[in-house]
């Protein structure tokens, strides 16, 4: 536990990659604050030539999916938003059960749809990769996820306002 805490302290002072933005390094990774100058200009020692730190990008490079590259810069914000939304959704469910009004149910519908959208998008981006499917199909797949989510939200809102509402629907189904 102390080791973990120490690791976290180290990681906070150095840059680490996120799920989408990492350089896929194993073990401890530290970014030096300056680049090491090659040994040729200093001393005559030929003995141990260490690994030379060359400048490199900590943002994603194109060994992965292109759409991950774009998302790389925002990913921390996106990740945090996902967690906050999960907590909101966790509260929205009992709220809608206690106050089954269209307004509260709309918040439930929005939270469920966005949560589900981010989840499905993550699955699609994980498995429908350019290295397997080429360049066009992954983009189409992500577009399809957006379409599905918009349709789902539209359908849920339509259901809330013209039909019995989400919580009521579950209650009625359970009465069977």
């Amino acid at each position: 536990m102390a080791a973990l805490a120490a690791l976290r302290r180290i990681n906070r002072s150095c840059v680490i990659g996120s799920r989408f933005g990492s350089l896929r390094l194993n073990g401890l990774y530290l970014v030096p604050s300056h680049v090491v100058v090659p040994a040729a200009t200093q001393g005559t020692s030929q003995a141990l030539v260490p690994y030379q730190a060359k400048p490199f990008s900590v943002s994603p490079v194109s060994h992965g999916a292109p759409e991950i590259e774009q998302a790389g810069h925002d990913h921390v914000l996106h990740w945090t938003a996902e967690r906050i939304l999960s907590v909101v959704l966790l509260g929205a469910i009992p709220a809608a059960i206690i106050f089954p009004t269209p307004a509260v149910e709309s918040i439930l519908a929005l939270s469920m749809t966005v949560h589900s959208h981010w989840g499905i998008e993550a699955i699609v981006v994980d498995y429908i990769r350019p290295s397997l499917f080429g360049k066009i199909i992954p983009k189409l797949a992500v577009g399809a996820v957006y379409t599905l989510s918009f349709l789902t939200l539209g359908g849920l809102c339509y259901f809330i306002y013209t039909d019995v509402g989400i919580i009521n629907a579950v209650k009625l189904l359970w009465k069977l």
Partner: protein, 176 residues
């Protein structure tokens, strides 16, 4: 582990660099970097995947030989249950958009089929299970995101707890 940490702390905090001997970040980097870094430094124009495809190299077994463990199986189930719930939600929402009748109408259709109590109870359990599991494991995920519960023992304990709790909650809801 402690040794590595000591090197790391020294490397991160220290200002001097001695290129002729391995120290701190260089030491850990030399041991822990993957071929990805060196690949970036090479001049090869061919993509890694294209090259291996061209050479028709076989892929080592991975999914077929890795032992199923509670960690990976629960993670998979979390994703699978999320996908199933999302599919159900989208199917319901878009279905109710497309179908002409109202929800109580279709509910009465199902009611007229007069399914047995045990069957209805079973279906309710099967509907509730992915939802309860995803809910419980989702909370477990949020606890991880706060930084707690990463020791292997705790992972296994909370894992079994989540499975048990989901079964219990689904059972309670199924008989309601």
């Amino acid at each position: 582990m402690a040794l590595v940490l000591r090197f790391a702390t020294r490397g991160c905090g220290g200002a001097s660099r001695h290129p002729t001997s391995l120290q701190g970040p260089q030491w850990s980097r030399a041991l822990f970097t993957t071929p990805t870094i060196t690949a970036m430094n090479n001049q090869t124009a061919e993509d890694y995947w294209a090259k291996n495809k061209r050479l028709r190299r076989p892929v080592s077994p991975h999914m077929t030989i890795y032992k199923p463990q509670i960690t990976s199986m629960l993670s998979l189930s979390h994703r699978a249950s999320g996908l199933a719930l999302s599919g159900l939600m989208s199917g319901f929402s878009i279905g109710m958009l497309a179908l002409p009748g109202s929800y109580p109408h279709y509910l009465s259709l199902v009611q007229s089929m007069e399914f047995g109590g045990v069957l209805i109870c079973g279906v309710k359990f099967l509907l509730a299970m992915p939802f309860m599991y995803h809910l419980c494991n989702g909370v477990r995920h949020l606890v991880w995101d706060l930084g707690y519960g990463f020791t292997l023992r705790t992972l296994y304990q909370t894992g079994y707890f989540v499975i048990g709790l989901s079964l219990v909650l689904s059972g309670v809801v199924a008989v309601m």
